[in-house]
């Protein structure tokens, strides 16, 4: 078993190394793409009621846009090498600081949403696979179809309308914490963890309440792919020889379904969960906007609309790095779920 784990780690390390060229490519590509876009950030940001040519030139100089593109690229790469992602014109802050403050918000939301989605999707998929063609199966299919065909911002607005506006159960949908509440000392940036560390359970519950609606509206959207893939791979594994054998030797229902069938069926679910996670992180911009969630996706969208180069480049780099990390984690999970994978 130790050699299995070791092999997994070696494989993960090799994966990490081989992804570096891809990261570099992403870096250069995003840089060039932003320069090719037709908007000129200097003109956009010089939009005070009296901003003229002089102001535009000054902003251009401040952003380093007065130099040629290759020169800019060299400066940019050397800055990245020193861990400097540039400064955002929008917020006036260093991009690194912005991302560091906003990433935990996005991660907390995405993790919670994924957790909720998995808690619902896996049992739903299993139940549907156990009785294919039954009313239960059709019910699950209907639920999934509804989840997918309602866009997240619609479900978000509906949830706000019902739970905040009509019933008054949910707190006002403005960010991670009530504006009148105090923030815990920042340790991890994840409010749920920070509140626990500070021993403030009232605050923890307040942060949790803020999190529920956005997480649910995101989860609704991804339950469908997860449940469908669970169902499909459960069907395959329930029909396989080893399950028939297990049944014939009279193992308990629980042992057959959970230990043998589900463990074998879980691999594709992990793969999809990894992909779903990465997509959610970038694509939850609508949920972030609707719930005023101070996350990275809405930050990047605002930056893109105003042609603010540095934040967009920083965001893409962050996403690419996260994607690499998620793939690594998925790889390691494979090794744990199915020891055969690490043998290669």
């Amino acid at each position: 078993m130790t050699t299995g784990l070791g092999a997994t780690l070696v494989r993960a390390g090799r994966r990490l190394l081989s992804s570096l060229p891809a990261l570099f490519g992403v870096l250069v590509f995003t840089f060039l793409l932003m320069r090719v876009l037709p908007g000129d950030p200097a003109v956009f940001f010089a939009s005070g009621p009296n901003a003229g040519k002089e102001e535009i030139e000054q902003i251009r100089k401040q952003m380093g846009l007065d130099k040629s593109v290759p020169e800019q690229l060299v400066f940019y790469l050397s800055d990245i090498g020193r861990g400097n992602l540039g400064r955002s014109m929008m917020t006036g802050q260093p991009v690194l600081k912005d991302l560091r403050e906003r990433l935990p918000a996005s991660l907390e939301l995405t993790f919670t949403a994924l957790l909720i989605a998995l808690i619902f999707a896996v049992p739903l998929g299993v139940v549907a696979a156990l009785r294919p063609g039954s009313a239960v199966d059709h019910g699950v299919r209907l639920f999934c179809a509804l989840g997918v065909c309602v866009p997240t911002f619609v479900s978000g607005l509906l949830l706000i309308y019902v739970f905040y506006y009509l019933l008054g159960l949910a707190p006002d949908p403005t960010g991670r914490i009530d504006v009148f509440a105090s923030v815990p000392p920042q340790r991890t940036g994840f409010l749920l963890i920070d509140f626990l560390l500070a021993g403030d359970f009232e605050g923890w519950w307040a942060a949790c309440k803020q999190l529920i609606l956005p997480a649910v509206s995101m989860a609704l959207f991804v339950i469908a792919p997860l449940a469908r893939i669970t169902r499909a791979s459960m069907l395959v594994s329930l029909g396989s020889d080893f399950v028939r054998t297990a049944r014939s030797v009279g193992l308990s229902w629980r042992k057959v379904v959970v230990t043998y069938a589900l463990r074998n069926a879980i691999l594709p679910v992990i793969t999809i969960a990894g992909i779903v996670f990465s997509t959610m992180l970038g694509a939850n911009v609508l949920v972030e906007k609707v719930f005023s969630w101070p996350g990275v996706a809405s930050y990047a969208l605002d930056a893109l609309l105003s042609s603010d180069y540095a934040p967009v480049q920083g965001f893409v780099l962050l996403m690419a790095s996260l994607f690499v990390l998620v793939n690594l984690v998925v790889d390691i999970c494979y090794g744990i779920a199915d020891p055969r994978v690490s043998i290669e």
Binding site: P49, F180, S306
Partner: protein
Amino acid sequence: MRFVSFRPASCVLATAALLLIATAPSQAQTRAETLRYVTGAAVNTLDPNIPGSTRESFALSMSTYDRLVAFGRKQLNGKWVFDLDTITGELAESYDVSPDGLKLTFRLRKDAKFQDGSPVTAEDVKWSLDRCVTAPILGKAQLLTGSLTSADQFKVVDPLTIEVTLPKPDKLALPNLATVYPMIINSKVAKEHATADDPWATAWLKEHTAGSGAYVVETFKPGEQVILKRDEAWNRGSANKPAFFKRVIIQSVPEPATRANLVERGDADIVVDLQASDVQSLEAKGKLKVISTPQYNAITFVSMNNQMPPFDNVNVRRAIAYALPYDDMFKAALFGRGSPLFGATWPDGKPLNGVYPFQQPVKLDLDKAREYLKAAGLPEGFSTTFSFNVGQASTAEPMAALVKESLGKIGIKVDIQKLPDAQMSTQINEKKLPFYTEGIVAWLPSTDYFYRNFYTGNQRWNYSSINNPDLAAIAQEARFEPDKAKYEEDGRKLNAMHAELMPQIMLWQPNQDAVMAASIEGYTYEFHRQVDYRDVSRK
């Protein structure tokens, strides 16, 4: 067994509910003394002079810094608006204008203190004004419009007196000192943070304040929220007492529907950037106070590039002016919330007065439009694009569809082009758009100011790219015209030229719809088009 496992969860819920109830009364008390303002935009700097600063940053600086003088307020159709013609002292106890109009003398209040407790002196005022005209910041271009261009113009007479000299008797010099940029900074503090590269401490002031304003910044999260605390010693308000609210929360809520929900449920106190449809339904419900003020210093246009064929032909521009379905556009884009700038009747074909913006004598008349097209030599029409930016899509999109439909009837084929904001401003600056809709705003709305800034020169704000030497000369002359009757005459001439040349088509002045809790009082429409937190109070 199953029910047992649910018990801990319900216990947690019950405890939490008890805790919430227990803390409720103390929260309610401070809630009444707190103003919660929600907005779709965000504050991005504490110094409004920084290039790229947002309108929210402008509004914030009005409360964190004082200026020498401030605009008074007046009632316009029963609503409070800022008054360009009444200028009162803020840090200045009183001021004099010399008879020849070349010298302004300000005497500072003896009791005025910065937020760190040190007194406001004439040295601080001079340093701040010098900074505004010397440093590479936004104030420079603004003060230029009031003939304030050099540090030599500001002289310290004694610790409480400062003198401003002007090269010409410029009417806009004094009002300029009441605008956002020439705020008075604590020069001792700022100088401590100045560096050789940055002698005016622009980097430090972007994230810190050193002012004498009514509110102190408690927390500043760029792009998210700002929390302000009242400065108890501040006494520059009209009644010589501190501002009403102890705390002000300025929070960014990007989704307009959420902002509407927040204010309707009473969780937010005031909001000024709701969608017209939401404002209408909230007004109909009657629970909230809705104050709609036409933004009388702003205009929405349909602009045509006067240098680009076919719009270089005046008859084409006139044809367009008679082919727009004004009433339908006004209803579709703004739900009629604003003041129209179309459909006037000029009995003798002459302007009614010399005030700009004015209601143009145009209305939808397709036969007349066809005649003009024929006169332009384009009886069959032509093809063009109509552009607007994404940020204005909610009003511009329905409007563009109506423009397309109506111009189609006289043979002009229109392609609608929706551009990201940065791209739109770039193309306008480079004069590449033939036909589009945009808006303008002037902080100091006077007829000559509008014509000089929006109808002359090869610069961004000259949307129509009109290049008419006569018009430019009259506007320039009017700037320094001391005689009111002559100024009015110049205005009439300019307005007549506008109607004749039709460089661009004025559509309307949209309303500023301020929606607030019924208990909020004192809201005033300010020149920066945001809420001045010092104006409002709670019953």
